[in-house]
């Protein structure tokens, strides 16, 4: 009977483990975080298999049927995102033990793992829920815990970065809440399926249009869509390595999922794009994000910050896919959600290895690392190739689908821009490669390779980058099903 409760169990177990963490010492706390992440991974895998075989699952919390109770609804889109979040969380938590021990003050470790589990709970909850207000609650859980996680960074600038994110994140969350409130006012329901059914009857009102605007802007803040991205580079640059990897690979992805959910399921594609003409705003912003953030990334001297700007650019690819609003475009977005998580996860974990050995990720510190940390730098290069979009890696699959989608709409210049941006990626990845492989190491002190417990999760993600670049049956096929579901009407 436990299978029937999987939708809620996978969210609740990490939630219960989180306070228990605080009571433990460091190592048991880590074990609990591992347990919570591994459990959610197991649940997500079972859920995706179930959804693919039997169609969407509905779950009423506490037995209260919707619209009175809170409903969870798992369909292909969110089952896929759940799997992504839990895979990354598990890889990162295995990695976390050594990395956290070196970057975070002793005595705070149990707090760290507690916040980590809460963040995971929040992300899983946002994804699983079928209730607009419940989504806001989980959004706040994940946001608050991620502010705490970022602030734990060893650099004192982590505090200001966290504060910056707190302000921006809170504004975003408030906008989302206002949007949800306005929709509730007009429709009298918070359940997404009900909202989707009732919005068409009231859609031609200023209130609904305002709700749409508030929600879109609020979610875009969480996504870090240009020009609302200013919190992201600092937050990523100064957070502890594991936190950067987790947030870069999952938090923005979940926010993209939320945008997909509201635009296509709740409001419906025809309202979002035909009535409100969202693409008029979204396309230029996405293109600007792709071009500008890639350019800025070239001039960064902190490699973590460089990858953070690259993330802003990659988010542009995802929103571009959304704004194309055809099946191929949505497929590209969903595939890129997954693929980008794999590449950025691998890259940030590789940077974590460098941080662990060198204590800095400034670009001059990479001199000679190709010889001293061969496995770490090889992982970085592989992740970089995937980021560029070289064939046989996941990056190529994403770009291929996105370009096809652009061509389907006849947008030739956009397709060319996507390719040109890949060239910018070549430049910023190459800067690191050149330092690592062609500059002699400074000084006489030789720095060794990172320990195995850091390398294994990194290489697991690198392997995934290659595997899913060759075998697209999980990513592209499932994403295609999900895209058709999203465009085919309500969940």
């Amino acid at each position: 009977m436990i299978e029937a409760h999987l939708p809620v169990l996978q969210v609740v177990v990490p939630l219960i483990l989180a306070p228990a963490c605080v009571l433990c010492k460091d190592v048991p706390a880590w074990l609990m975080a591992l347990l919570g992440s591994a459990w959610s991974l197991l649940c997500a895998a079972l859920l995706l298999a179930a959804v693919l075989h039997h169609g969407p699952l509905d779950y009423a919390i506490g037995g209260w049927p919707p619209p009175w109770g809170i409903a969870y609804r798992i369909d292909t889109v969110n089952a896929f995102v759940l799997l992504l979040v839990s895979v990354i969380a598990t890889a990162v938590v295995i990695y976390a033990r050594r990395s956290v021990a070196s970057e975070i003050a002793a005595g705070q470790h149990s707090l760290f793992y507690s916040a980590y589990l809460l963040c995971l709970t929040g992300l899983l909850g946002i994804t699983a829920t079928g209730d607009a207000f419940n989504l806001f609650v989980f959004l706040e859980i994940s946001s608050l815990s991620s502010y705490a996680l970022i602030a734990m960074g060893s650099d004192r600038r982590a505090l200001t970065a966290s504060f910056q994110y707190l302000i921006m994140g809170t504004i975003g969350a408030t906008f989302i809440l206002i949007g949800v409130g306005l929709s509730y006012m007009m429709t009298g329901t918070l359940n997404m399926a009900d909202l989707a059914a009732r919005i068409p009857t009231v859609s031609d009102t200023t209130t609904m249009r305002a709700a749409f605007a508030f929600l879109t802007v609020g979610i875009s803040l969480k996504i870090a869509l240009l020009p609302l991205h200013l919190w992201l580079p600092n937050a990523y640059a100064y957070a502890p390595s594991v936190v950067t990897a987790l947030l870069a690979a999952t938090a923005t992805k979940v926010a993209v999922y939320v945008l997909l959910r509201f635009l296509f399921t709740v409001f419906g594609a025809s309202f979002s794009f035909a009535t409100m003409n969202l693409d008029i705003v979204l396309v230029p912003l996405s293109l600007a994000a792709i071009a500008a953030a890639s350019l800025v990334a070239i001039f960064q001297s902190n490699v973590k910050r460089m990858l953070a700007y690259s993330s802003v650019a990659q988010i542009g690819y995802m929103t571009l896919g959304i704004s194309l609003s055809n099946v191929t475009g949505l497929t590209a977005t969903i595939v890129h959600l997954f693929n980008h998580a794999l590449m950025k996860g691998a890259l940030f974990l590789a940077l974590g290895c460098v941080m662990y050995r060198i204590g800095s990720v400034h670009i001059t510190q990479f001199a000679g690392l190709g010889r001293e940390m061969p496995w770490t730098m090889a992982a970085f290069v592989a992740g970089g190739l995937s980021l560029i979009g070289v064939p046989l890696t996941v990056g190529f699959i994403s770009k291929w689908l996105l370009i096809l989608a652009a061509l389907e709409n006849g947008w030739w210049p956009v397709a060319v821009l996507i390719v040109a941006a890949s060239l910018l990626a070549v430049v910023y990845v190459w800067r690191v490669v050149e330092q690592a492989y062609f500059k002699p190491p400074p000084g006489e002190a030789t720095r060794g390779e990172a320990p195995l417990s850091l390398l294994l999760p990194t290489w697991a993600l690198v392997a995934a980058n290659v595997y899913f670049g060759l075998d697209t049956s999980l990513t592209a096929d499932v994403a295609g099903i999900a895209a058709r579901e999203l465009l085919g009407g309500g969940p």
């Binding site: 560029i388 070289v390 064939p391 046989l392 190529f396 699959i397 291929w400 689908l401 370009i403 096809l404 061509l407 397709a415 060319v416 390719v419 040109a420 890949s422 060239l423 070549v426 062609f438 670049g469 060759l470 075998d471 697209t472 592209a476």
Partner: protein
């Protein structure tokens, strides 16, 4: 063994060879034996495909499928087989030569050198057998990346600067232009397979076809069409065996091979002829052909001169493709074979002169021919082949290119080809002339600069390079001669490829 698997083996054997070389790195003799064994095994594997392809077979092997319609597939067709046979046969000779050169010059990192060399050959074989544009692209990029460590082998500032230019231009054009062209082809034709007669006919209007053709020709940076030719001279910082096999045969021929393959199997000769899509590039190729020859004239460094000569000779192949006639394509294919054998000989000679006499500038090579007769004779033979004089192989490619130009009604191009042959004479023959007819520096006259005495003594002590260097270059020089008498083998192999063309009449005399 079934033939499709042989195609896969052609790629697998050099890879296994690379692994073997890496494992035996501590024992140089064993390591070189592994290299030689891999080279020989690859040459025989590729040659074993010859009978079936000659009989009209097209062995096909799908490696994996990424997305529906997007797969890595190998198909062996005549043009690819020709390219693979040349590359693998010359790999054997280059390996022998490398052993002499690398040991003679005490080069460092020899294991890395042989590993990268073997992997580069695997990539070359992949390009030769590519069954669609994606496969071609993947192996094309792999070839760029694996040859990069070879170009920067010396590791000094010059090598790094050269390497950066090499990687920058080749990756930049392939990702920025070639990939766009491939994606655009998919969007226009709904397929990126290589098919007889092309895939674009009837699907693209003349303007789109011209645009696509230009994208392909400039996107294939390895074909060194101006203005994207600068990487080729930059790559001359590499050790000479690398320049010889990779920058006279594998890498640059991969470029022009891709040009021919795309011309024949993506556009189709008839379609190109009908739309005139290649006219613009024909002029670019003609310009490159002449301009590079003029630049070559002005280079005193022997390898730099040969590099620009290569740029010029590659443009012949592109010109052959753009003429959009059966004979033009035939001439281009023959040029791939003939120029490969000729140019590798010239580079071998340049390396032998460096190994024996430590000389790189042509103006310092007076009288060397008297002490290194084999090397300089080989140089002379190969030069005459490049120029296109019978009875040497190069005569055939020039002949068919001219016939192709006449068929296409481009009389001006015949003039360009003739002018270029004269320029070839002007920049290639001075070296053998200096070597044989000018006296060595000690007899140069009264105005002997200080220090010339020691250089005169050094000249007197110069002997031929080691046998491992001189042997291969004599064999390839002999090859230039043989290619003239066995040119019809290449012709018969290639005939079915262009048989579909409207110019079939010319094939059956």
């Amino acid at each position: 063994m079934s033939t499709p698997l042989l195609a896969g083996l052609g790629i697998l054997i050099p890879l296994l060879g690379a692994l073997g070389v890496a494992l035996t790195g501590r024992r140089p003799d064993l390591r070189e034996a592994v290299s030689l064994a891999a080279a020989t095994a690859m040459a025989f594997t590729v040659a074993a495909l010859f009978p079936e392809v000659l009989a009209g077979g097209r062995p096909q092997l799908q490696l994996l499928e990424l997305l529906p319609g997007l797969s890595l597939t190998l198909i062996v067709e005549p043009l690819g087989l020709l390219f693979a046979m040349i590359a693998s046969a010359l790999w054997i000779l280059t390996t022998v030569y490398s052993i002499g050169y690398m040991r003679g010059n005490n080069e460092a990192h020899q294991t890395r050198f042989y590993v990268c060399f073997a992997v580069a050959l695997a990539a070359t074989c992949g390009i030769a057998f590519a069954g669609n544009l994606l496969t071609l692209f993947v192996f094309y990029e792999a070839l760029t990346l694996t040859t990069y460590p070879l170009v920067t082998h010396k590791g000094d500032a010059d090598a790094r600067a050269g390497g950066r230019l090499y990687l920058g231009i080749l990756l930049g054009t392939s990702i920025g232009i070639l990939l766009v062209a491939i994606i655009a082809t998919w969007a226009v034709a709904g397929s990126i397979e290589f098919r007889d007669g092309g895939i674009l006919a009837g699907r693209a209007d003349p303007f789109v076809a011209s645009l696509l053709f230009a994208l392909y020709m400039f996107g294939i940076g390895k074909a060194a069409l101006m203005p994207f030719h600068r990487w080729l001279p930059a790559a001359m910082v590499a050790p000479t065996p690398v320049s010889a096999l990779l920058h006279a045969v594998a890498v640059v021929k991969a470029g022009v091979f891709a040009v021919l393959k795309i011309t024949i199997y993506v556009f189709g000769i008839d379609f190109l002829d009908a739309t005139g899509a290649s006219d613009f590039i024909m002029w670019v190729a003609a310009f490159t052909l002449l301009a590079a020859s003029v630049v070559a004239l002005r280079k005193d460094n022997l390898k730099a001169r040969l590099a620009y000569s290569t740029v010029s000779q590659l443009a012949y192949v592109v010109l052959g493709a753009t003429l959009a006639t059966a004979m033009g394509v035939m001439g281009g294919s023959l040029q791939i074979a003939m120029h490969a054998v000729g140019k590798i000989t010239l580079f071998f000679c340049a390396g032998a002169i460096y190994t024996a006499a430590r000389k790189t500038e042509i103006s310092t090579m007076d009288g060397l021919g008297r002490v290194m007769p084999f090397t300089f004779t080989a140089f002379l033979i190969a030069s005459l082949s490049i120029i296109g004089l019978p009875p040497l192989g190069g005569a055939w490619s020039k002949w068919y290119l001219m016939v192709g130009a006449a068929d296409a009604g481009e009389t001006l191009m015949i003039g360009v080809l003739m002018l270029s042959s004269l320029l070839n004479v002007a920049y290639l023959l001075p070296l053998p002339a200096r070597g044989f007819f000018r006296p060595p520096p000690e007899a140069a006259g009264e105005s002997m600069p200080p220090g010339a005495e020691t250089s005169a003594i050094r000249t007197a002590r110069i002997r031929e390079a080691p046998l491992a260097c001189v042997g291969p270059l004599c064999i390839t020089a002999l090859g230039c001669l043989l290619m003239f008498f066995y040119g019809d083998a290449v012709f018969t192999l290639m005939a079915p490829v262009i048989e579909a063309s409207t110019f079939t009449a010319r094939l059956t005399p």
